[in-house]
């Protein structure tokens, strides 16, 4: 349902993604892992065109686009089929929790206020924030803000949700509540593409793990294949290093 073909992007003449091919099926939870600076986040941001790829094609539902000849209308189409959860939450500061979740439904989807309100309450219930609907983002903890932003993403009923290191900016004790919510989203059958450094979480939640290094996809497979059975040197090196670091703390 989502597939990228030969996606390339460069910043300042340095190629960051070197021809990525990726397929995501409906209901998949695809996790992108790999060292920092290998283009995981860039890849994710290319999917909803927050970064502009130089080359490649995207297939999303019934949309098929070539990045070299993309039009404004196409960009909106793609964005209206996807939603993103950011590392820094990026909630609208001047809106309350409920307004944050409602707004896109009203502005973009042209829903009635009542319908948007009802949908928002449903989503906020799922993330456990019904008691905070009238709070402003600045009055919430990071974990709560991230849960609101997940509710905001769910409320537009996207075909795929893109998570960009959703727990990296959180205090350690708040990570759990957000991961729990993401896990529930995954269980509900939502298609997810996730960038994360939470390896054990990736292992538990994913249907497919993609290991990236230096702008390439090195290897992809089930969590078991990647975490336990990988024969690729770079994958094993990365995972070993990761676990050693974790154990040494």
């Amino acid at each position: 349902m989502l597939s990228l073909k030969n996606l390339e992007i460069s910043f300042n003449n340095e190629q960051v993604l070197k021809g990525i091919n990726l397929t995501v099926n409906k209901g998949d939870v695809v996790t992108l892992i790999g060292p920092s600076g290998t283009g995981k986040t860039t890849l994710l941001r290319c999917i909803n065109y927050l970064e502009k790829p130089d080359n490649g094609e995207i297939l999303l539902g019934d949309i098929h686009l070539d990045y070299t000849s993309i039009r404004k209308k196409d960009i909106l189409k793609i964005r209206r089929k996807t939603a993103m959860v950011f590392q820094q939450y990026n909630l609208f500061k001047h809106r309350t929790v409920i307004e944050n979740v409602m707004e896109a439904q009203i502005v973009v989807q042209k829903k009635s206020k009542e319908a948007a309100y009802k949908k928002s309450m449903d989503e906020l219930e799922k993330v456990g924030l019904l008691d905070k609907i009238d709070a402003y983002p600045s009055q919430l903890s990071g974990g709560q803000q991230q849960r609101v932003s997940i509710a905001r993403a769910l409320a537009v009923e996207p075909e795929v949700i893109l998570f960009d290191e959703p727990t990296s900016a959180l205090d350690p004790e708040l990570v759990g509540e957000v991961l729990k919510v993401i896990e529930n989203v995954a269980k509900s059958g939502m298609t997810i593409v996730l960038v994360t450094h939470e390896m054990s979480f990736a292992q538990n939640i994913s249907t497919k793990v993609v290991f990236m290094d230096k702008g390439n996809i090195v290897e992809e497979g089930t969590p078991t294949e990647i975490f336990y059975q990988s024969s690729n040197d770079r994958t094993r090196e990365f995972l070993n290093q990761f676990y050693t670091e974790k154990n040494s703390i």
């Binding site: 909106l76 939603a83 993103m84 990026n90 609208f92 001047h94 600045s138 893109l162």
Partner: protein, 231 residues
């Protein structure tokens, strides 16, 4: 020469009569200058090649010339410019029929739009980029993002500066008397001449200006506090 309290009070009431029209004029100029300033800021943000540099030159000109000079310049040229433009659509227009109030509005709106564009540009920069990206990721169009995310927050940032420029406009309108548009200052001058009591008249004018500006400042501070919820 004695300072006469009763004349002062009489002058105060006389001046209060022109406060509404002065305020109205200032509001019109404020709104027009904000609108034009907004357009300028947008054009410069988009970096449209030739227009952007033209605007820079215009800004530097307007910044570098006193309002009095601009006002006289407008007073002597605007009627003929209007005559020319109107003649293009085939209408005859007598340049002497252009009311000086129009000149005041046009000249000050243009002159203040430069300052407003700076204010607007700065305040738009203050909205963090993450929220704009969030709006984009949800499928907001350029104008939806502007209207729903950028403007409401930029407005709060810009409010003190906009308020300040409103007070400046009210005070600058005293120049309008030079081309026979009567505002608070103009009225004071007329009353002073009429009663031969210039001191009382100008003390009254100063008091009215002061009270007006204090009141407006108070009002806007309250309003700002309400808008600032969530920041």
């Amino acid at each position: 020469m004695m300072f006469q309290l009763d004349v002062l009070i009489e002058n105060l009431f006389g001046i209060l009569k022109v406060v509404p029209q002065t305020l109205l004029l200032a509001v019109i100029i404020l709104i027009l200058s904000l609108f034009m300033g907004g357009c300028l800021a947008l054009i410069q943000r988009k970096k449209i090649p030739i227009i952007s540099s033209l605007i820079s030159v215009m800004q530097s000109f307007l910044r570098g010339t006193p309002n009095v000079v601009l006002l006289y310049l407008g007073y002597y040229t605007l009627p003929y410019i209007v005559q020319y433009i109107v003649s293009l659509v085939g209408i005859d227009f007598n340049p002497h029929h252009l009311h000086p109030v129009i000149t005041v509005i046009v000249v000050f709106s243009i002159s203040f739009s430069v300052f407003q564009s700076e204010t607007i540009r700065g305040s738009m920069h203050s909205v963090d980029h993450g929220q704009i990206e969030a709006a984009h990721s949800l499928g907001y169009s350029f104008f939806q993002t502007l209207r729903k995310v950028v403007v409401p927050q930029a407005l709060v940032e810009a409010l003190p500066d906009i308020m300040n420029s409103f007070l400046v406009i009210i005070k600058v309108l005293s120049l309008a008397y030079l081309i026979s548009v009567v505002d608070i200052f103009g009225q004071a001058k007329l009353l002073g001449a009429y009663n031969f009591s210039y001191i009382e008249a100008f003390v009254a004018a100063a008091l009215v200006y002061w009270a007006l500006c204090s009141f407006l400042t108070l009002l806007i501070n309250k309003f700002e506090l309400r808008l600032r919820k969530g920041f």
